[in-house]
């Protein structure tokens, strides 16, 4: 399937990656090539096959629903580009 420029723009928006308008045609072309490659999957008869959810048959490990750690605010914030008064700081999101 050929991906048009509007679709490429929409995907970039959904992925929250800024793509300049000038770069969109090349991006659309790349997507088209990759999706063309992926479309080989349509040749496979998948009738009655369940989509794989786990590669090993085991059930996911579960632990007791109890608090296991906490009280490490300074460590949690240590790598933040902007942290103030014990919080992550971001540009204003509500007026």
């Amino acid at each position: 399937m050929a991906i048009d420029i509007d679709t490429a723009r929409r995907v970039a928006k959904l992925a929250r990656i800024k793509v300049e308008d000038a770069a969109l045609p090349a991006l659309a072309q790349e997507f088209s090539a990759i999706l063309g490659f992926i479309e080989q999957l349509n040749e496979v008869d998948v009738e009655g096959i369940e989509p794989m959810t786990s590669v090993t048959p085991q059930r996911l490990y579960r632990r007791e629903d109890v608090v296991t750690d906490g009280n490490q605010q300074a460590k949690v914030l240590a790598n933040a580009p902007d942290a103030r008064e014990g919080f992550f700081a971001v540009p204003k999101v509500v007026e």
Binding site: R16, I17, A33, I34, F37, V46, N79, P91
Partner: protein
């Protein structure tokens, strides 16, 4: 005195235990070799202070008679592993300056066993690549060279492969989502094993595609892989996909006796246009295993052809989810904003500046295949095909096949930059023989088995039954002994 950096882990272990060498001397020899090898760009964050203090502690333990296998052994750690207080940025600009407040389970286990960390190793950005050319640190370079071209060490664990092949460390950690341990191992003449999915904890390893990612060792020979894998493996309550089954002594499985083992040769791996040298290597490897007493059996894995396209749906889909966390809020890079720009611009600019082109491409492909209206057509279909690929393997193992022999890569190492103008799919084809193993969650090992006409190393891959890494390593050990690959790159760096 012999060059300490050239020792295998097994040889160094034995000498350390006997007191013939000290970890301090061994570690210093590696640090010196690393400083002389900047041209390889393998170590991207050197940690000499950590190494020296760990070596000193290891020497104390050795003196006290407390000698786990890896006690005092200097290793390199792929940049994908979070290491406390040491830069861990998955070779991405978006994690610039990130110093984890915690230690990955794998490195915790290695350090508890007395291993020494020499530094962090180069890789493709977020482990997305097959040539180490997508790294923010620049290309890692293969120590093998046959003309004036600089060759790729492969990827994504390119720095790990280059460092081990050049004797900068005794072993290294790698990770493998579609071939990222086995392809670079093959390109550099070393051994690398991707264990069964769930064998090694993923906790603290920067996630790429969580249902495919597994960490494993990259070493100078099969015995060293057995030793190092045992130290890395084991149940971890912090990884819900980690398997709660005992870790055997893999080294003890190395008897070299493979009489009566059934080795499958899958016809679908005989690709059109496969170089004659690769075909010859495969035939030679088959003959070696037959001569060692194995039964060779032709097998069919009918859905092999669809593994790469299924992978290029599933891996980007998972990556787009995993990489959503890089938003400029909690860690790493945040873009500078212009007057009036808000939080959406912050996300979009941060991710455009922080992710390189290949990562952006895969995140967007993943976003597309998961988006409303396409989820069934792409993502669910790929997961169904994945189930069929796994079923192919289940069938041959149920029929009594013990291991499967294939080439590791479709070619020897290529020149850095040579694929720059190729479309992305051409690069993806590097993983054509390895990616099935990740999709089926199986263990796979790459063993150096020969050289091409120009002298570059070539590897063979062995694929094993789930959880039977010991048996797989033993077949690999037999192949290694028969192939007798001892060549080392001539030092030019």
């Amino acid at each position: 005195m012999t060059d300490l950096t050239k020792l295998t882990i097994a040889a160094a272990r034995d000498s350390l235990r006997k007191g013939d060498i000290t970890s301090a001397d061994l570690t210093q020899a590696c640090l010196t070799a690393i400083d002389a090898a900047d041209a390889l760009n393998a170590f991207v964050h050197k940690t000499p202070d950590v190494a020296k203090s760990q070596a000193e502690a290891a020497d104390q333990r050795l003196k006290a008679g407390d000698t786990p296998d890896l006690c005092g052994i200097p290793l390199g750690i792929k940049d994908l592993f979070c290491t406390k207080g040491v830069p861990s940025q998955a070779a991405s600009r978006i994690l610039e300056g990130f110093k984890p407040e915690y230690e990955s389970t794998v490195t915790t286990q290695l350090f508890d066993a007395g291993a020494v960390m020499l530094g962090k190793l180069n890789m493709d950005e977020f482990a997305m690549g097959s040539s180490n050319e997508t790294s923010v640190y620049g290309d890692a370079v293969n120590p093998w060279k046959v003309d004036d071209r600089k060759l790729t060490p492969g990827g994504s664990s390119g720095g790990s492969a280059a460092a081990v092949a050049a004797d900068l460390c005794l072993g290294a950690t790698g990770t493998d989502t579609g071939g990222s341990i086995r392809q670079p191992a093959a390109f550099t003449g070393i051994t690398g094993i991707k264990p069964t999915y769930g064998r090694v904890s993923r906790w603290g390893v920067v996630a790429f595609a969580s249902s495919l990612d597994q960490a494993g060792p990259m070493t100078k020979d099969v015995r060293d892989s057995a030793i190092m894998l045992r130290a890395m493996a084991g149940f971890d309550a912090k990884d819900s996909t980690s398997a709660n089954i005992p870790v055997p002594d893999f080294e003890a499985a190395l008897t070299g006796d493979i009489r009566g083992k059934v080795i499958g040769i899958p016809k679908e791996y005989r690709m059109d246009g496969m170089p004659a040298e690769i075909e010859q290597l495969w035939e030679d490897g088959t003959a070696m295993l037959r001569d060692a007493g194995a039964e060779i059996r032709d097998i069919s894995l009918p859905h092999t052809k669809y593994a790469l396209p299924a992978y290029y749906v599933i891996a980007p889909a998972e990556a787009s989810s995993n990489l959503a966390r890089y938003d400029g809020v909690r860690f790493g890079h945040r873009a500078k904003l212009a007057q009036g720009e808000g939080i959406t611009e912050m996300y979009e600019k941060t991710r455009a500046e922080g992710f390189g082109p290949e990562v952006q491409r895969r995140v967007m492909v993943g976003t597309y295949v998961l988006s409303a209206g396409f989820y069934d057509a792409y993502y669910n279909r790929a997961r169904k095909v994945r189930a069929l690929i796994k079923r192919d393997f289940d069938h041959v193992f149920a029929d009594g096949v013990d291991a499967i022999l294939t080439p590791a890569t479709p070619s020897a190492a290529f020149g850095l930059g040579e694929m720059a103008d190729a479309d992305p799919i051409k690069m993806y084809l590097n993983d054509v023989f390895t990616v099935t193993v990740n999709l089926a969650g199986l263990p796979g090992i790459s063993v150096p088995a020969g050289r091409d006409a120009s002298g570059l190393p070539l590897g063979l891959q062995l694929i094993g039954r789930p959880w039977e890494e010991g048996d797989l390593l033993n077949v690999a050990y037999s192949l290694e002994r028969a192939a007798g690959f001892v060549a080392k790159p001539d030092r030019w760096w």
